[in-house]
Symmetry: C2
Subunit: 152 residues, 2 copies
Amino acid sequence: MAYGDLPGHMSMAFRAAMDRVHAKLAELGYGDVRPAHGFVFQLLSHTNGSTAVEIAAHLGVTKQAATQLLAELETKGYIRREGHPLDRRARLVSLTERGWHCVSAVVNEWRAIEDDWAALVGAERLDVVRDAVCAIVADASSKGQVTMKPLW
Amino acid sequence: MAYGDLPGHMSMAFRAAMDRVHAKLAELGYGDVRPAHGFVFQLLSHTNGSTAVEIAAHLGVTKQAATQLLAELETKGYIRREGHPLDRRARLVSLTERGWHCVSAVVNEWRAIEDDWAALVGAERLDVVRDAVCAIVADASSKGQVTMKPLW
DNA sequence: AAGGTTGGTCAATCAGGTTGACCATAAGGT
DNA sequence: ACCTTATGGTCAACCTGATTGACCAACCTT
């Protein structure tokens, strides 16, 4: 690999992994999820119950865009929107059973990928990689420049 | 970092690096380049002279989309389109001086980032990372699943 | 010379996002 | 309590970057 190509190669590695996750999802009958949905799932699986504006902030888009996304996810059966118990303006968004299944499929596949990587380069070396990447991200994060969003 | 989070963290590391490159470009007066333009530059800097359809193929978009992109890059002064010497239908696209300056600024910044990473985690460890990532990409590539495109 | 292929453009359309106006409810100051 | 302001959500219009489809001119066969 040429000097200066490491970041780009990381992107490629991620991209290959991402594609594999999507292929797996399609195989399991979740072929109708788009990349941006992942961020919604991620948030919901941690908070279990969020509002549209929170999701919009997490995605880095306007609330209108988020609302549209949620409508789509609702008709596809991944999420549910009910009246918020504490705020009658708001609608509480949460994962359906199908949504949870999809989330765990994703988590499993990311882990499977990491396992494969460990098998490929050796567990000890992958530990080094893990620590290094973690340090790099932490450093960037400390300088206030971290987005999970891979959108350019 | 949690088990299964490595690919995502790689994406974050790349994203932070990418943002830094764009910030640097803006600082140097190349603030009007968009992400997709990078792929055009990359191709042109290696081939020095490509046709619109080749670029389209490299970008993974239709030739119409590529043409539009090229028109934009031309008006911004990064590229030049002249009659192809061997094919009177085609237009040969090449980098202008400004384009070359921009490309080398990008290359320098990627290298500076890689240097910073080496300083952060140690040169030997970063060598391990480099080898590992290279192996991972090579493996994915051998299975025919590699795109440089970080677009989801 | 004739037919099919290829580089490029024009035009219409679509998808996903944005901005802006608006309503209903909530929260706070007085 | 009351009036003002802030906030969650929706509706509607629009922008941008892409797509598909039709087409032309030049190329490459044969």
